[in-house]
C-alpha cells in the first residue's frame, strides 16, 4: 500500500509539473511539415511489405496538414507540403482512389483559402489514370478541373469524351461533353456537373457538391436581385444606404439571405451584390453570367 500511495503521489506530481510547464511553452510547429523521406519509391522500399499501411499514415498526415493550414488564422497560407504528401500516398498505394480524387479537390480549392493549384490536381489525376487502371471517374475529374477552375471548356469536353470511352463509364458523360462545348461557362452546365457529383458515395465529394450548388443558388439570387438594384440606382442615382431602404423602395418581401442564412451585401466599390465575407459561401466563383459592376 505505501508503494501504491507513493506511485499515485509521484504521478500526480508529474501531471502537475506538466500542467505548469505547458502554460508557458508552446511546441514549435514549422510552417511546413518536414518530410524526411520525399521519394515515394524510397519509402516503398523502407516500408517493405507494409506500403499500404505507410500510405494510410501519410494520408492521415495529408488530411491533418490540409485541415490545419486551412483553419489557421494566418493570412498567407501556404500548402507547399500538400502535393508531396499526396504524391507519397499514391506512390505507396497506387489504388488509393480517394487520395487521388479528394487530393485533387484539396489542391484546386481557390487561393487564399486553399492552395489554388489546379495544375497539380491535373498532374495527380493523370498519375491516377496511369497507375490505377484508367477509371472513368479520373477523366471526369480532370475535365471538371478544366471546366470549373481553368474555364477551358474545349479541354474539359475532350476529357469528358475520353472518360465516356472507358469501361463502365457513366452514360451522361458524352452528352455532358456536348453540352460543355455548346454552353461551357453557363451556370446550368455547372449545376449539372455538380448535381452529378452530389450522387457520389464519398462524403467529402458529396459535401463539396452541396456547397457548390448552394453557391450557384446564391449566384442565381444575385442575378435576380441585380436588376432590382439597377432600377434603384437608375431612379435615385446612388446606391441604397441599406437593404431595408432597397426592400422598402422596391417592395421586396424580406431582406435577401444567401443559402447559408447570411444577408447579401452591396460592394460599394463596384456597385455589385455579393455574399458577405462572413458567409461560408464566400468567395463565389465567377462565371460568364456573373454581372459586372454597375456604374455609380
Amino acid at each position: 500500500m505505501p508503494l501504491v500511495a507513493a506511485m499515485a503521489l509521484l504521478l500526480t506530481a508529474a501531471v502537475a509539473v506538466q500542467v505548469v510547464r505547458d502554460r508557458g511553452w508552446v511546441p514549435y510547429q514549422p510552417p511546413n511539415p518536414l518530410l524526411w523521406v520525399q521519394s515515394g519509391p524510397l519509402m516503398q522500399r523502407l516500408s517493405v511489405s507494409y506500403a499500404n499501411l505507410a500510405s494510410d499514415v501519410y494520408w492521415m498526415r495529408a488530411v491533418i496538414y490540409y485541415g490545419g493550414v486551412r483553419r489557421s488564422e494566418s493570412s498567407a497560407k501556404t500548402y507547399e507540403g500538400l502535393y508531396p504528401l499526396l504524391d507519397l500516398v499514391t506512390t505507396l498505394d497506387p489504388h488509393f482512389t480517394v487520395a487521388y480524387r479528394f487530393g485533387a479537390i484539396f489542391l484546386t480549392e481557390a487561393y487564399p483559402q486553399g492552395p489554388g493549384r489546379p495544375d497539380q490536381a491535373i498532374q495527380l489525376l493523370e498519375r491516377a489514370i496511369e497507375r490505377d487502371g484508367g477509371r472513368w471517374d479520373y477523366y471526369y475529374d480532370i475535365g471538371f478541373v478544366y471546366y470549373w477552375w481553368l474555364h477551358d471548356y474545349q479541354k474539359a469536353a475532350e476529357w469528358f469524351l475520353k472518360g465516356a470511352e472507358r469501361p463502365n463509364a457513366a452514360t451522361w458523360l458524352k452528352p455532358l461533353a456536348a453540352t460543355t462545348l455548346a454552353t461551357g461557362g453557363q451556370r446550368d452546365t455547372s449545376r449539372q456537373l455538380w448535381t452529378e457529383l452530389l450522387k457520389s458515395d464519398m462524403d467529402y465529394v458529396h459535401g463539396q457538391a452541396e456547397f457548390r450548388l448552394k453557391q450557384l443558388d446564391a449566384m442565381d439570387t444575385i442575378s435576380k436581385l441585380t436588376p432590382v438594384l439597377q432600377r434603384f440606382i437608375s431612379r435615385e442615382h446612388r446606391l441604397p444606404q441599406s437593404w431595408q431602404e432597397l426592400a422598402a423602395s422596391e417592395h421586396l418581401p424580406q431582406i435577401p439571405l444567401d443559402p447559408s442564412g447570411v444577408p447579401f451585401v452591396f460592394d460599394s466599390n463596384v456597385g455589385r451584390i455579393d455574399v458577405s465575407r462572413q458567409s461560408t459561401l464566400w468567395p463565389l466563383p465567377i462565371d460568364a453570367q456573373t454581372p459586372a459592376g454597375m456604374p455609380q
Binding site: S55, V63, V98, D201, D203, Y204
Partner: protein, 265 residues
C-alpha cells in the same frame, strides 16, 4: 510420428507459458480495437485503414512471434544443457527438430487465429456503423481470409528460417539473420532482373541463382489486393502455398542435417 507429436505438444505448452507472444497478441488486439478511433483523421477512409492496420498487425506480430520463439527453439536448450536429457530419450534428432517446428507453427496458428477473431470483431462493429457502399469491398469481406492464410504460410517459412539458424548460432545472431532474410525475401524480385542492369553475365547468373535460392516472400503479400477488392487467382494461392511447403521442408532438412552433425560435448 508419435515422438514428433509429443515434442510438438511440449513446444506448444512451453510457448503458451511464454509471456512474449501473449504481450504481442494483446498489443495487436488492442491496436485493432483502437483503430476505429482514428475515423476523424481519415476523411471517410476508416474501413480501408482498419483493414490495412489489421492485416499489417497480423503479419508483423506473426513474424515477430515466429522470430522470437523460433530463434530459441534449439539454442535455448543447448545453452541450458537440457539438450542432453532430450537426446538421451528414444527420439531421433530429426524427430526433435521437426517436432519443435510443428509445435511452434501450431502456436503461431493459434495466436494468429485469436488475432483474426479480434480483427473480424472490430470489422463487425464497423459494419454496423458504416453503411455498405456498392462496388466497394464489404467490411466482413471473406476474401481477407486469403491474405491471412498467406500470412500464416509466410510466417511458417520464417519460422523454418529461424529454426535453421537456431541449430548452429546464438539467439541474437539468429534473429538478425532471420530478419535480414525476411527483408531480402521481399526485395527478391530485384535480383531476377539484375541481368538488365549489369554487363557481366556471370554476375547476372549469380543474381538469378540467388533469386531462386533465397526465400521469395513478395508473392505472399496480397494485403493491398484484398483491401481494394481485387481478384486473387486460385492458381496464385495454391502455388504460393506449395512453395511455402517445399521451401520450409528444405530448411527443415537442412536444420536436421546440421543438428545431426553437432557435437554437444
Amino acid at each position: 510420428m508419435r515422438q514428433v507429436v509429443l515434442v510438438a505438444g511440449a513446444v506448444f505448452r512451453e510457448s503458451v507459458r511464454d509471456r512474449v507472444p501473449y504481450s504481442m497478441v494483446l498489443f495487436a488486439v488492442g491496436l485493432m480495437a483502437a483503430s476505429f478511433l482514428i475515423s476523424q483523421l481519415t476523411a471517410g477512409q476508416d474501413l480501408k485503414i482498419i483493414k490495412d492496420l489489421g492485416l499489417a498487425a497480423l503479419s508483423l506480430f506473426g513474424m515477430l512471434i515466429a522470430i522470437f520463439l523460433g530463434i530459441g527453439l534449439v539454442s535455448k536448450e543447448v545453452e541450458r544443457k537440457i539438450i542432453f536429457g532430450l537426446l538421451a530419450k528414444p527420439i531421433t534428432r530429426a524427430q526433435l527438430v521437426i517436432g519443435k517446428y510443428a509445435g511452434l507453427v501450431a502456436t503461431l496458428v493459434i495466436n494468429l487465429t485469436v488475432m483474426t477473431l479480434a480483427f473480424y470483431a472490430v470489422l463487425a462493429y464497423m459494419s454496423y456503423s458504416i453503411p455498405a457502399v456498392p462496388g466497394r469491398p464489404a467490411a466482413l469481406d471473406p476474401r481477407m481470409l486469403i491474405a491471412i492464410v498467406l500470412i500464416v504460410a509466410e510466417v511458417a517459412v520464417i519460422t523454418a528460417v529461424a529454426l535453421f539458424f537456431s541449430t548452429f548460432s546464438s539467439p541474437l545472431l539468429s534473429a538478425v539473420l532471420t530478419l535480414g532474410l525476411w527483408v531480402a525475401g521481399h526485395f527478391n524480385a530485384d535480383l531476377r532482373n539484375f541481368g538488365d542492369v549489369v554487363d557481366s553475365p556471370s554476375v547476372a547468373a549469380i543474381a538469378r541463382g540467388l533469386y531462386y535460392t533465397l526465400p521469395n516472400l513478395a508473392p505472399f503479400d496480397v494485403k493491398a489486393e484484398v483491401v481494394h477488392g481485387m481478384p486473387i487467382s486460385l492458381r496464385h494461392v495454391v502455388l504460393t502455398l506449395l512453395y511455402a511447403a517445399l521451401y520450409a521442408s528444405v530448411l527443415l532438412m537442412a536444420s536436421v542435417a546440421i543438428f545431426r552433425r553437432r557435437d554437444f560435448k
